[in-house]
């Protein structure tokens, strides 16, 4: 699998080769050690590379994400750079003005960091723990479902509709997230269920 042939490794090898050859050709073979001693290694050489797909439009350009740390090894990882994936058949390494600035989307100041709660009539959000938020949500949803679930229509046909709570699903999530979301929403009987494709 060509993922194993790391671009970073390739660049490292190629870079060192070029330096050694040209210096050698000019008769500075002895200077090599001195050069290596003070030239900083390429910044991306110490990062982890990950293949991903641009999150914006459905052209779905391939991207390479460079992080400090490796999430797959359980490390904390911080995204430091994004570039187009030259191996990707559609975009061949290119990116548009949105894709080229993807890092700033991931690291936007307005990324949400903790669950927040707004009480009725309040003018502010207040932090809430995940447990408290999820317990309260499950309670609100169940109470609404129990109160308004339509088990059958006037003709006695089972219709199983819960029309008083609706859901919009996100068409930038994965197919796998979508399937899990679908299962939960449809099994609860939420009929007011749509995604951006409706718009």
């Amino acid at each position: 699998m060509n993922m194993e042939l790391s671009r970073r490794g390739f660049m490292k090898a190629a870079g060192a080769g070029v330096a050694a050859t040209s210096l050698g050709a000019m008769g500075f073979g002895g200077a090599e050690a001195a050069v290596i001693a003070h030239v900083r290694p390429m910044k991306l050489a110490s990062t982890t590379e990950t293949r991903n797909t641009c999150t914006y439009c459905s052209v779905a350009c391939g991207i390479i994400m460079y992080s400090k740390g490796d999430v797959r090894k359980g490390e904390r990882a911080e995204l430091v750079h994004v570039e187009g994936d030259a191996d990707h058949p559609t975009n061949l390494g290119t990116l548009c003005p949105k894709g080229a600035a993807l890092k700033d989307f991931v690291r936007a100041e307005t990324r949400l960091r903790q669950p927040m709660h707004r009480r009725p009539g309040s003018d502010r959000f207040e932090p809430i723990s995940w447990d408290a938020a999820l317990d309260r949500i499950a309670r609100l949803m169940k109470d609404d479902r129990d109160a308004n679930f339509l088990a059958s229509n006037a003709d006695g046909v089972p219709v199983n509709r819960w029309a008083t709570t609706g859901m919009l699903a996100a068409s930038a999530t994965t197919n796998e997230t979508a399937w899990a979301t679908f299962k939960v929403a449809k099994t609860l009987g939420i009929v007011g269920f749509d995604n951006q494709a409706r718009v």
Partner: protein, 814 residues
């Protein structure tokens, strides 16, 4: 897309109408540039604005927004009049020869069967004449006066270049130049591709816009071939995936349908889904419906779904309306009939039409839950931001939960692009703070509710208690587990029907693809069309072999394309009746005497004999449809319809407003404006630096196009005394915005029906959270109208007024 982005390089002519690919899909548009540079392809752009796509076109024509059907019907008429038809293809692969029953007609802009009271058609006359053998009658000579071809010919006869000029405002000579270029693609060795997006869908007659072009492509023989096709550019990165997986009110997965109340039991539901072939020997692949449906029910409810209980058919909701679509839900919210709403990665306050109505609806909820990686206006709809969100915070009693989610960089899984490629990706970063995966959040809500139902009982707990939820960690299903479930597996040993001693798939193993699914409960599959994505060969969506034998653009081993890794839909139609490619230089498939071979997975049974089995295997006819029978609510042929708010009356029927069966609610009728009060034709669009409302959180993109503006022509600016860069107020019957004026040559006044029509362009991006300046969007102005078939709101054609103004109140920087 029927084809793929990389296939566009094979085309001879690109028509961009209803889209602006250079701006909205820049890296995909490079394949147009490739076709121009290396094949000498030409690019035609038809758009109300001289867009960035138009700036690199060979021919640009202006058109009034909402009048595309007239333009396209006129091109069809031109091709028929000038004998520019791919005859062999049209006769063999379309329903041109099918005979329509007596009683079908069209007059005064309406088809037979219209009921003004119900705003609906009785569609029973829109069908074929059937013989005693049950098959549709055909006349291969095309002589029968009621064969589809002659009806089509008569239907489009009214669409002359003069009518195009009158309705669309497109100069006659410009139209004729374009029609001539398109007509050349009727040659079997010339292909045209259609690239379209929301400029076609967001109308009350969106489906008919697309049909008109699809019909043109069929009579030119451009469907199923390299460099051809109907290519919906699509929006979000996985909008195709969420549609395929049926996250919509009226759908189940893989285009199976939610049942309606009339389908009182499973037998009744299946009775209308037998998909008997309408011509001898045809495939009619939907005959396998029950296999996919039962496998879906087994994926949902596992062992609880049995033959005895009709596979838990009654666990499914039964709809009493076509759909509880977004517009209906916000209408119901305004009526006080909705209590809770969950917005997962969705910002309806900026995305849905008539923002005033949307905000009023949200304020009537008891609870709102948002799940998003970023701040959204919706989560803060109760916060006062001066003119930008002028609400009475204290009066809003909605309880709001804002839940932080991961974004793509921290997630893993597959996304389906517009070319139907399911591409797997891997996580690169740690989520910020306490942000969680959507799968975790959905699982946590579900497990808590299931526990409550276990403990307390409640309304019909059965589907909840029995939902199949067998994951390694039920609190957070893993992407691979979910993907395997979507693919499907054998629940018991699957034996070869021809040789029962032979086991095809052992119990517990993944099925190879949907051809192994069965309707006896022995298989499960979450989404049949995706089956094959993750089988015993592994995760095919993660494949990264980018080789492309003979540079066809197919890249067959790159990830996985649905269905069955097929890259071009209807590819059997790339060859003639005998199975020889129409254009040997653009071969996709050919018949080798025993089977279909070539560059792509055949879109037909591999041994289906040419001349016997026709290429459009999903249709009961085996051929494609120029006449859609009763399958669309607003007509078997596309006919000109004006937008609900239009600067001119419909020349076919001046009394008819909008789409005669377009979906409107009583409460919205009073909010439609007239051209007397609102003389200007508005449209909406997006800029290349922006992606909807997301990029305003990103300083780079926010700075590149920093401020909300509207575009207008120099002529209108002069008339209204508006200077470039000055503040203007734009308002409709529903709302008002303030913006900077961009006075431009890119928009020119049109002359339609003898009237000067000024177009005003309104881009979307701005709101009141994020790194960008505060601003408005077109949804403050646009009408609450749903497309007749699918209820998509119309954003592309409505009426506004404009005047010089001052800056909005409430601070400009978010």
């Amino acid at each position: 897309m029927t084809n793929a982005w990389t296939d566009i390089k094979n085309t001879d002519l690109v028509v961009v109408m209803g889209g602006n690919a250079a701006e909205a899909h820049p890296c995909g548009f490079k394949w147009v540039t490739e076709a121009k540079a290396h094949r000498g392809a030409k690019l035609i752009v038809v758009d109300p604005r001289y867009t960035r796509t138009a700036s690199v076109s060979d021919v640009y024509a202006p058109i009034r927004q909402g009048s595309d059907i007239t333009f396209l019907n006129a091109v069809i008429n031109y091709c028929i009049q000038n004998d520019k038809v791919q005859w062999e293809y049209t006769k063999a692969y379309t329903n041109a020869a099918f005979i329509v029953k007596e009683g079908f007609g069209y007059a005064d802009g309406l088809f037979s069967g219209y009921d003004e009271e119900k705003r609906d058609y009785d569609r029973s006359s829109w069908d074929y004449e059937f013989g005693e053998d049950g098959f549709a009658k055909v006349d291969p000579t095309l002589q029968h006066p009621r064969c589809v071809w002659n009806l089509l010919k008569a239907h489009v006869a009214a669409y002359t270049p003069e009518l195009v000029e009158r309705i669309c405002g497109t100069p006659r000579q410009k139209f004729l130049q374009i029609a001539g270029m398109i007509a050349e693609c009727s040659s079997p060795t010339k292909t045209m591709t259609s690239m379209y997006a929301l400029g076609w869908t967001q109308h009350s007659h969106g489906a008919q816009n697309i049909r008109a072009m699809a019909m043109l492509q069929l009579i030119l023989g451009n469907i199923g071939v390299r460099g051809g096709g109907m290519n919906a550019l699509r929006g979000h990165s996985n909008i195709q995936g969420l549609t395929d997986l049926g996250l919509m009110s009226h759908l189940l997965t893989g285009y199976l349908n939610m049942p309606t109340e009339k389908e009182v039991d499973y037998k009744t539901y299946m009775a209308s889904r037998q998909f008997r072939p309408l011509r001898p020997g045809q495939t009619s692949y939907w005959q396998n419906y029950s296999k996919f449906m039962v496998s879906f029910q087994k994926a949902m409810w596992g062992d609880a779904a049995t033959a005895e209980n009709d596979w838990c058919y009654h666990y499914l909701s039964k709809l009493d309306v076509p759909a509880y679509d977004i517009l209906r839900m916000f209408e119901l919210m305004n009526q006080g009939k909705v209590n809770g709403y969950i917005c997962q990665g969705f910002n309806p306050l900026l995305a849905f039409p008539n923002r005033g109505k949307v905000a009023a609806g949200l304020a009537r909820l008891k609870f709102l839950i948002t799940m998003d990686p970023l701040e959204t206006e919706t989560a803060r709809f109760w916060e006062n931001h001066g003119d930008f969100n002028d609400v009475d915070t204290k009066a809003i009693q909605t309880e709001v939960f804002q839940l932080p989610t991961v974004c793509f960089a921290e997630d893993q899984g597959s996304l389906t692009n517009s070319g139907r490629w399911l591409q797997w990706f891997w996580p690169a970063a740690t989520p910020p703070g306490e942000a969680k995966a959507d799968t975790w959040i959905m699982a946590q809500i579900f497990l808590r509710m299931r526990e409550l139902y276990r403990k307390e009982g409640g309304a019909f707990p059965d589907p909840i208690l029995n939902l199949s939820w067998q994951y390694h960690n039920p609190g957070e299903p893993e992407p691979e587990e979910l993907a395997k479930e979507i693919n499907g597996r054998a629940l018991t040993d699957l034996r070869d029907p021809a040789d029962p001693s032979r086991i095809l798939v052992e119990a517990g193993k993944q099925v190879v693809n949907f051809s192994q699914l069965r309707d006896d409960g022995s298989t499960m599959s979450g989404c049949w069309i995706y089956s094959g994505c993750f089988n015993e060969a592994g995760n095919n969506m993660a494949r990264r072999d980018n080789h492309d034998p003979d540079n066809t653009g197919a890249h067959p081993n790159w990830t996985f394309a649905w269905p069955l890794n097929r890259r071009t839909l209807y590819n059997r139609a790339s060859a003639d009746l005998d199975g020889k490619p129409w254009d040997p230089s653009r071969k996709l498939l050919e018949w080798d005497g025993a089977k279909w071979v070539g560059y792509d997975v055949p879109d037909i049974a591999p041994t289906a004999k040419p001349r016997d089995v026709m290429p459009f295997i999903m249709n009961q006819e085996g051929v494609s449809r120029l006449f859609a029978r009763g399958m669309l609510r607003d007509g078997p042929f596309p006919a000109h319809m004006e937008p609900f708010e239009s600067p001119i009356a419909n020349p076919f029927n001046p009394k008819m407003r909008g789409n005669p069966v377009g979906r409107i609610f009583e409460s919205d009728v009073a909010q439609f404006g007239t051209s007397e009060e609102f003389p200007y034709a508005a449209t909406s669009y997006r800029l290349t630096e922006h992606f909807h409302y997301w990029t305003k959180h990103n300083r780079v993109n926010a700075a590149l196009q920093p401020e909300f503006f509207v575009e207008l022509s120099e002529e209108l600016a002069r008339e209204k005394g508006i200077a470039g860069g000055s503040w203007v107020r734009v308002w409709s019957k529903r709302g008002s915005v303030r913006a900077k004026a961009v006075v431009t040559k890119r928009i020119r006044p049109l002359i339609c029906d003898g009237k000067t029509v000024h177009v005003i362009g309104i881009p979307l991006h701005w709101g009141f959270v994020g790194a960008a300046r505060k601003g408005f969007g077109p949804n403050s102005l646009s009408p609450f109208v749903g497309e007749a078939n699918i209820e998509t709101p119309g954003y592309k054609a409505f009426l506004v007024n404009i005047e010089p103004s001052t800056a909005p109140r409430g601070g400009v920087v978010a």
